[in-house]
């Protein structure tokens, strides 16, 4: 067997088939070790694929050796390669840094099941990113969704349960909408393969079912991606999830839904519906701007640290949508770079939060007052992540903001308004990051509180690695930029 040819399949098969094994492993550290090994293997495969893609190699795979469109096809292009890197990387970092955090939050005997669900989540998300078949995407979306419901429900706070229920309802409605959309396209084209769909949809005379399909798929995936105003499930789900799970999901889960949305809109619909690019912009641009402003504003007033960061995530999804809604090469490149950079920044921040949670009782702002005195390393990593989130030069976040603003300015008068929105939102980001920093550094700890110790070294090492990656990609942004630019060229290449 030729390993390079099988890489794409192994990317999914390794975590998927490890899951049942992990569910049986006792004691718990063995389950953790097996999960981490599977996740790290997947990460290594993703790096190999990304490097191959950068050299212009195409990764296609025919499941069961059946030719598409009769069988299911996997295809990795630069866009999916970026996603695979983020998914497997976030999972590996969260597992390595989150072991102790999981130990404190989940009972021992339930941990093997928890880790099995983790691997299913990883395999599901990777499966979506690698798939080139509309229905197969649905199946892996459901694997990843069910697994994430389980992971979030592991949170010790009782409010995790209603949050999960809400997420389950909204997620299922979203997935079913997607299924309706795919059904309508299938009805008019007779195929499920995305590339084949693109070709055959030309021949469809009646556009109304396709138009309706576009609507259903967009709304369904927007629900999954928590695009404003369909983000209602996200803040509580992220807040009450176990801390390690928040690191993993916040870095990649919504972005995978955005990825399919962009893929459908650019590859399948854009050139086939008359004036679709205009409608797409008119529809998504206001939503993106609202998301950027409203969610940043919500974050600025939020008093719970995790929910504050969750609202910030909703705003960042707005940035990604804004770049895409420009429908040009520069805008899309900015979007895709931001998908990568935001994962880094949010991953770092939530890792730091997991460190704080190891030593503090409450993650409300008054609970972390004075935390920097006792946990200087943790808070310093938080500051680095925060700077990257705001977009200070020298961090990864700066690169994507820079590209986004450059892309937006190309839009003429409208561009200045959009830049104003970005600047206001960045100022709001300064406000909410500063509130955390101010509380942790300059306020005194609550009276009578036991002085906390610094977080365990194992977690700090991982958090700092993530923080330094923010700085590294702030200077050496070649890899994400070249991949994103290629991905953007690819998507734009489908336009007439």
């Amino acid at each position: 067997m030729n390993l390079t040819e099988q890489l794409v399949a192994l990317q999914i098969v390794v975590p998927l088939l490890s899951a049942p094994v992990v569910a049986l492993l006792r004691p718990r550290w063995l389950a953790w070790a097996a999960t981490t090994a599977a996740s790290a293997t997947a990460f290594a495969i993703a790096i190999a694929i990304a490097l191959g893609v950068r050299e212009g190699r195409a990764f296609g795979y025919q499941m069961g050796s059946w030719p598409a469109p009769y069988g299911i096809e996997l295809a990795v292009d630069p866009f999916s390669a970026v996603l695979l890197l983020i998914i497997t990387g976030a999972s590996t970092f969260a597992l390595l840094g989150g072991r102790l955090s999981v130990d404190t939050q989940i009972e021992q005997q339930r941990q093997p099941l928890f880790y099995a669900a983790w691997l299913l989540g990883l395999a599901g998300l990777a499966g979506i990113a690698a798939s080139a078949d509309a229905f197969n995407i649905f199946v892996f979306m459901e694997i990843s969704s069910l697994a994430s419901y389980v992971l979030i429900a592991g949170g010790p706070d009782r409010r995790a349960l209603p949050s999960v229920f809400k997420y389950l309802i909204m997620g299922t409605v979203g997935a079913t909408f997607y299924l309706i959309g795919v059904g309508l396209i299938y009805m008019m084209t007779g195929t499920l393969n995305l590339a084949d769909m693109e070709l055959r949809i030309h021949e469809v005379g009646d556009q109304s079912p396709i138009l309706v399909a576009a609507g259903f798929i967009t709304v369904g995936l927007a629900l999954k991606a928590a695009v404003f105003p369909l983000h209602a499930w996200l803040p509580n789900a992220y807040t009450y999830a176990p801390h390690a799970v928040t690191v993993f999901l916040a870095a990649c889960a919504t972005k995978v839904a955005l990825y399919i949305l962009l893929r459908f809109d650019f590859v399948v619909f854009q050139q086939n519906l008359i004036g679709h690019d205009v409608k797409f912009s008119y529809f998504l641009m206001p939503l993106a701007v609202l998301a950027i402003l409203v969610a940043s504003g919500m974050a600025a007033f939020e008093r719970n640290l995790k929910r504050l960061l969750a609202y910030s995530s909703v705003a960042q999804i707005g940035y990604i949508m804004l770049g895409a809604s420009l429908v040009n090469h520069a805008g899309l490149t900015a979007s895709i770079v931001h998908i990568f950079n935001h994962s880094l920044a949010k991953g770092t921040l939530f890792l730091a939060v997991a460190c704080l949670a190891m030593r503090l009782d409450s993650l409300r702002l008054d609970g972390i007052a004075g935390a920097a005195r006792n946990m200087p390393w943790t808070m310093a990593a938080f500051v680095v992540g925060g700077l990257s989130l705001i977009g200070i030069p020298g961090t990864a976040g700066f690169i994507s903001k820079w590209y986004l603003i450059a892309a937006v300015l190309g839009e003429g008068p409208l561009g200045f308004l959009l830049v104003a929105a970005i600047v206001i939102s960045s100022l709001l980001a300064v406000v909410y990051v500063w509130r955390v920093v101010e509380t942790a550094y300059f306020q005194s700890p609550p009276d009578g509180a036991v002085p906390a110790r610094e977080a365990p070294p194992e977690m700090l090492i991982l958090t700092w690695t993530a923080a330094l990656l923010n700085v590294y990609f702030g200077f050496a942004s070649d890899l994400p930029l070249s991949l994103s630019s290629a991905a953007s060229a690819l998507l734009m290449g489908h336009l007439p």
Partner: protein, 323 residues
């Protein structure tokens, strides 16, 4: 004649759905839901989808109902009527229905042989299957081989649900103030269900096995068989009580079935890779590709059947044993 019947069934379907939503007694709602699923299965049958009808009847009307009842026993039977955001709901629903009806005007009519779905991909399956795979049931061929990767994903969805339910209901239950009425003895003291049910169980399991091993030739396959056998075993548990059922097949064994079934499927896929093909390529399993396909399909259908049966039973026990 069949058209009149179809219209009648579809209308009944809508009426049942309205009744499910309107009734405030959740027990009644769940029972109506089972009828809804049966009507749906009958519709599928009229539309020539025998495999789907079988699955909907076993899974929708059978297993889902039992799981709902298990959950009702642990929660509440009455809904305390309170509508939230009714205006919003009506608005959203009205918009969606109008959009959908707008889309129907350009849809091909029911049964139109010129419809695009009958021109592309599907004819290839119907033409090539006898030659490439050599089994009569094309649905099984597509399910297990052409789109076998979807089916693998499917088994893992069931696996995810199973570990999810075990994970959630594996948490220590809160202390109860009032002891739950002893329902664990089952229907042992009811003579008629006891006698009739006992007679039924072996036949249901036998039918399940038939559906499993006959899936290449007639309607059936792993999902249907797994669900049917699980229904039979659940009936056994209801008759003899929870404890007797767990004594017969311990929970560890059930979970072992889920893991074993999923791994069997995955193993067949990896074997294809090791023998020089792609993942889930069965033709390399034997020197004759057609034989290889058939061996592969039998193996993965067995994996699916074992995993689904084990998962549904595990889920049932997780609800039934919680108190």
């Amino acid at each position: 004649m069949i058209i009149v019947f179809a219209v009648f069934l579809l209308t009944l379907l809508v009426i049942t759905a309205v009744a499910v939503v309107r009734t405030e007694n959740l027990f009644v709602a769940v029972m109506l839901m089972a009828i809804f699923s049966l009507l749906m299965a009958a519709n599928f049958f009229i539309l020539d989808a025998a495999d789907v009808a079988l699955t909907e009847a076993a899974v929708g009307a059978g297993v889902t109902t039992v799981i709902f009842l298990g959950a009702l026993a642990l929660t509440a039977e009455k809904e305390r009527s309170r509508l939230t955001g009714r205006g919003l709901a009506l608005g959203v629903v009205a918009v969606t229905v109008l959009v959908l009806i707008y889309a129907t005007f350009d849809k091909p009519r029911l049964g139109d042989p010129e419809a695009p779905v009958h021109q592309h991909v599907a004819p290839w399956y119907l033409e090539q299957t006898p030659e490439l795979i050599g089994i009569p049931n094309v649905v099984t061929a597509v399910l297990a081989s052409y789109r076998g990767y979807d089916t693998l994903g499917e088994v893992f969805v069931v696996f995810a649900a199973c570990i999810g339910v075990l994970f959630l209901l594996g948490a220590p239950p809160p202390k109860r103030t009032t002891p739950r009425p002893a329902a664990t003895s089952g229907l042992r003291h009811h003579l008629v269900p006891q006698v009739v049910g006992r007679l039924l169980v072996p036949f249901i399991v036998l039918f399940g096995l038939y559906v499993q091993f006959h899936g290449e030739y007639g309607p059936g396959g792993g999902f249907q068989a797994g669900a049917i056998i699980a229904t039979g075993l659940i009936l056994h548990a209801l008759l003899e009580g929870e404890k007797a059922s767990i004594r017969a097949i311990p929970r560890g064994a059930l979970f072992g079935m889920v893991v074993g079934g999923a791994l069997l499927y995955g193993f067949v896929g990896v074997l294809g890779m090791l023998l020089g093909g792609n993942f889930l390529d069965y033709s390399v399993l034997h020197s004759d590709p057609v034989k290889g396909q058939q061996y592969g399909i039998i193996a993965i259908e067995a994996g699916v059947g074992i995993a689904v049966c084990g998962a549904l039973m595990s889920i049932f026990h997780a609800f039934a044993a919680r108190d």
